[in-house]
Each structure stands twice: as C-alpha cells, then as structure tokens.
Amino acid sequence: MGMKLLRMALAGAVVLGAMATSAALAQGITVGLITKTETNPFFVKMREGAQAKAKELGLTLISAAGKFDGDNDGQVAAIENLISAGAKGFAIVPSDSKAIVPTIKKARDAGLMVIVLDTPLDPMDAATATFATDNRKAGLLIGQWAAGTLGDKAKDASIVLLDLATNQPTVDYLRDQGFMAGFGIDVKDPNKYGDEDDPRICTHEISQGDQEKGRTAMENALQKCPNVNVVYTINEPAAAGAWEALKAVGKDDGSVLIVSVDGGCPGVANVKAGVIGATSQQYPLKMAAMALEAIASGTLPAIDPAAGFLDTGATLVTDKPVAGVESIDTAKGTELCWG
C-alpha cells in the first residue's frame, strides 16, 4: 500500500508538474462516474454529489450506469467509452466485483485512475483505491441495537431476515452476517447466509430491495413465523414494505422491531415515525465527492492499510439509543441523509 501510495503521489506530481496551478488545471479534465443502475436512489444521490463536486472543481463529468443491477456488459462499455474520451480517471460502483476486473486493468494500463466505490473488487487491489462503507459494520450496528433493545428477551427472539437476492451479492451477505454477529448469532461461514442453525432465525426471504416485494416477502414470512419480533431488512424500501405487511395483521403496535441499512431521507423519516427501530446510515454523496477530488488532484487521502479501503463510515440512526452502541438521533440523521 505504501509503495502504491508513493507511486500514486509521484504520478500525481508528474501530472501536476505538466499542468499549471490547481484551479486552472482542472479545466478540461474529464472524469467518469459509473453506477450499477441509474434509477436506484442511492446511485441517483451519488451522481448528484458527483455533479456538484465536478461543478465546484470545474471538471467535465461523464456519468454512466448499467441497465440493471448485475449488468456487467453495460459497465464494460461505459469504461471503454471513458478510455476513448480520454478521461483522467473514474469512480465505479461495480455490478460484478469479479467480472469487471480485466476491464479495470485495461483502463489502468491506459493511465486512468480507478476508484471503486461502495462494493470492493475481488481482488480489492485491482483498483487504484477503494472508498466504501463497511457493510458488515453497518449490519453489526443494527444487530447490536436489536439485541440491546430486547435485553433478556433476545434469547427467545424470532427473527425474519429480508435479504436482497438468491445469489447473495457482497453487500447482501455482509449486511446480513454483520447483523447476525451483532445480535449474537453464530454465523458459521461469515461470507454466506442460510447455513446458521440458531433456532431464533425463523426464515430468510428475498425482497430484492423492493418495497412491493418486501411486503410480499414479509406476508409469506408471517405465515411461517407468527411470533416474529425482529425483522432485519436489506434496505429501507424493503423495511417500508415489511411494515405494510405487519400493519395489515395488526403487528404495528411496537411488538416487532424492524432494523435496516441505508440512511436515505425517507428511511430516517421512518425511524422518526417509529416504523423502523434503527438504521445504519451510509454516505453515497461523500463517497463520490471524495473520489472526484482524488482523481482531479491525482492524490489519494490516507487509507488505513489494515482495512485496505477508505471507510466513508456507517452511523446508527435511532431515537431509542442503547447503552454501548454509539448512535445519532433522527434530527442529526435527517441533516446527513440522502435521497
């Protein structure tokens, strides 16, 4: 890492030397932002953060996205276009953290700086740098909060997990397993869910992170788990859908704790309204803005070599704090929220 940083710094210095002063040099620099999809609010906000930063630094921003979550081909085409456009570098949220690696290598060989956001590559060091949220920690926080809130009752909990997809993408198992670890469940293989034998886990259902499918998943889960009192959700739309299902059977009386991850403005508002007990807030705007700054200046911020990536942070948002779990209230969460 140190060597790489040094190399980056040298490369940055050369670039700086070749051009005039920093304010003027930004003129004419093209940078890219490639997200998984263009419709997911998380990425829409990321793009808005990038646009604001590009304007501030006087950069030309080319944004692109896959057609759907998992669309590797679309991202490959986007990278090829950026190479052709003579971009100085780009930030990317990879849809397929393995399949995109050869194309990223091609871009770096062509001299582009590649900063991977949110979802690390496999291997992680295929990128120039990675700025991400620690999704496992995000899960851990809500797991600890749920266990702390239940107190003694945690040992008799009945837990429903509304996950993302059957193929368990990185973000899916990291959040799920982080939650379990935080709750005090033996996760067995920490990179896979569904192999646990803790009797408190009643069922895993797939929500696809979608509000309507989240409701359907919760309705089906209720048939299997009539005594559910903890619902983990992959994101806040799924949580809102689960809430509708619980409300329909009169379980919106506080008897069921819902926890989630994202920290979008509607999600934080739902924490405030008592729909969601706690959510782990992430910061997509910050991620994108930092990446653009790094590409424009050619220098990376300090990265903890142990983690291997720059952690842009995850903060627990709740109005019912639990001793021993650091959190902020919804007023603060609303200030920091996105989407």
Partner: protein, 371 residues
C-alpha cells in the same frame, strides 16, 4: 364378453367381429381426443382452472396448516391483484395479436404522477389523481398511435416506449420515494385501494353470522380488480367494439375487408390498456402505502406470464379475461405455496417457467387441431 366366448366356435365370424371392435375403438379414442380439443377450443379457461385447483391441492399438503388458512389465501389474493389488473390490460393488447412491454412502467409512471404531484408539488388530489389516470391513457395512446401510424411491430414499439417511460419516470420522480405517512397526511385517497375489509365483519354488519368468512380479508384494490375485469369482459363479449378487437387479432385483413377500422380499434385498445395500467398504479400505491419509483420492475413479464398461462393465444383473436385472472392466481398460488413449503426463490422461478412452456404448448396443440 360372453358373445366373444360363444363366438370361438365360428372362428371366422368371431375374428371379423374382433377386428371391427378394435377398429371402432381406435376411432372412438381419436374422437375423444378431438372432442377434448374441441372442448378446450370452446372453453380455453378449463385448463388454467384445473392447474389452479391442482396447485391448491398440492400446496395444501406441502405446507399443511399454512397454505389453506383463510389469512394466507387472502394474502395470495392481495399479492396477485396488481399483476392481474396489468394482465387484463395485457390481454386486450394480446387479443389483437400485439404485445405491450411497457405496461409495468406505465403503472410506475402513473403512481409517481399521482403521488408526487399531490404530495411533493401540493396539487389538490382532485387534479393530481385524474392527471395520473390521464398519464396512463396518454402513454397507451402513444403506443397505439406509433403501432398504427408507423406500422411497426408492437414488440418493437413498446420496447422503445418502455425505455422512454422509464426515463420519464426517473425524470419526474428523481428516483425519490414518497413515504406512506406523507401520502396518508396529504393524499389518503390514494391509499384507499389498500384498505382491508374483514368479510366476517361485513356480514355481521348486515346482520348475518357467516362463520365461514372468519379470517377472510380483501382489499378495495381486489374489488377494483374484479370491477375492471367485469367491465372489460363486458366490452369484449357484449359490444361491437369487443368483436372488432377479436376480429382484428384473428385476421386483420379480413377484419378490414369487412369494414372494421382496425387502426381505430388498435389505438383504442392500447389507450384503454394504458388507462387500466393507471388503475393498477392506484392499487400499487394502496399496497405499498407510498410511491416507490423502484417498485414493479418485473411487472411487464409478470403480466404477460399471467395472460399466457391463462390460455390467451399470443397469436391473437383467442383468449379471455377470466383466463388471465386464473393465470395471475396460478402464478401467485405457486409462488406463495413454494415459499411456504420452504423452497428457495430460484425454484419458484423454475416452476413459473415450466408453467409458461406448458401453457403455450397446450395453446399450440389446440390451434393445430382446430385449424
């Protein structure tokens, strides 16, 4: 039998008799198959009905005590309502030998127009709601206009408008979710379709103690689905326009020659389908409480699946609304039943795939014989 035994003595006559019997048996067999085909041709909804009943029986055993509970069956009905309404719109289009790949996005766009206009821009609901319905009608109208005026295949046209409506959706919604509480505060009427009706309580209010209704719950959305189905069924089977729809799908040239304005018919069909998608949007808001520009991404294919499994021919001119309702219920029953049986989602997808292929195979078979 006794005749045969006595006929052994007069061997030749007996043999003759046997040959004849075999020959006539074969003919009868072919006749039975033909009759079955004829029957299915006349009553194509029989097969989906049988598949639905088989599904119910299978899951009654596979998920004992869970699947057949009134609460769960009520939930299945709620789960299929949106797809069924989109399926009705899709049936109209498919009856004309077309296809509408944009129904799902028309629905999402309309839900965004209704919700965002009312809640974010503060426009009174009396304007915002009709605006949403008008948006659906307009989307369908555009589809129909392009299909007829540019004479392009509906598949291509709606593939294009699918993308266009998707872009408009992102443009207007900015991908921002509108929360259930905000709709409740500013436009509760949009959530009306999700209101639960406890059938037992309704009976009680009418002075009837109908115990068998205990646990059954329906939404106004599901009732709306039935109303839409009845209206469209009436239009298709009891009006001249309905006959024009079937005729246009069966043989557009013949329809034209017999004096039907097929272009007008097609434009009306797509526009009506768009309007029905807007009604589905209202039901969607009721179901999820809020407006999510992300919801319903698979609704296009789900609606086509319901239509095909319901026995409507992709080649046009043959099919029914009731079949589509059965088709939607079949998919819902299989998905819910498999989930309750503890199977992973991928096997639900697998089962739905098998159902589609079987349905189309049967459709082809019926067509071949009746032709």
């Amino acid at each position: 039998m006794s005749d045969d035994a006595s006929g052994v003595a007069t061997a030749e006559r007996g043999l003759k008799g046997a040959e004849q019997a075999v020959a006539s048996f074969e003919e009868e067999d072919r006749g039975a198959v033909r009759r079955l085909q004829g029957f299915l041709h006349r009553f194509p909804t029989t097969i989906p009905l049988i598949v639905l009943l088989i599904g119910v029986v299978i899951f009654a055993f596979a998920a004992p005590g869970k699947f057949l509970s009134p609460l769960n069956l009520s939930v299945v009905l709620q789960q299929v309502t949106i797809v069924a309404i989109l399926g009705i719109a899709q049936t109209l289009v498919i009856l004309t030998a077309g296809i509408d790949l944009s129904v799902g996005l028309i629905m999402i766009l309309c839900s965004v127009v209704m919700g965002r206009t009312a809640v974010v821009y503060g426009v009174p609901l009396i304007v915002a709601f009709p605006l949403g319905l008008a948006a659906g009608f307009a989307c369908g109208f555009v589809n129909g206009l392009i299909v007829t005026m540019l004479r392009l295949p509906p598949f291509i046209v709606t593939l294009g408008t699918w993308s266009i409506f998707g872009a408009l959706n992102v443009f207007y919604s900015r991908s921002e979710t509108i929360r259930q509480q905000d709709i409740e505060a500013m436009a509760p009427f949009l959530q009306w379709t999700g209101t639960l009706i406890k059938l037992y309580d309704v009976g009680k209010a009418l002075g009837l103690d109908l115990l068998f209704l205990k646990g059954w719950v329906v939404t106004y959305g599901s009732i709306l689905m039935v109303v839409v189905a009845i209206v469209v069924w009436y239009i298709l089977s009891r009006t001249a326009f309905g006959r024009h729809v079937y005729a246009t799908g069966d043989d557009p040239d013949a329809a034209r020659l017999s004096g039907i304005n097929t272009n007008k018919t097609l434009i009306a069909v797509y526009a009506l389908a768009g309007l029905i998608c807007a009604i589905a949007a209202w039901v969607l808001i009721g179901r999820i409480g809020g407006v999510s520009p992300q919801a319903g991404q698979t609704a296009n294919l789900d609606s086509i699946t319901a239509v095909v499994i319901g026995g409507t021919s992709l080649f046009g001119g043959r099919g029914s609304i009731i079949g589509t309702l059965f088709g939607a219920l079949i998919v819902g029953v299989f998905r819910n039943g498999l989930a309750l049986s503890g199977l992973e989602l991928l096997w639900q997808d697998f089962a739905v795939g098998v159902l589609i292929i079987v349905a189309v195979t049967i459709d082809q078979w019926i067509r071949k014989i009746s032709a």
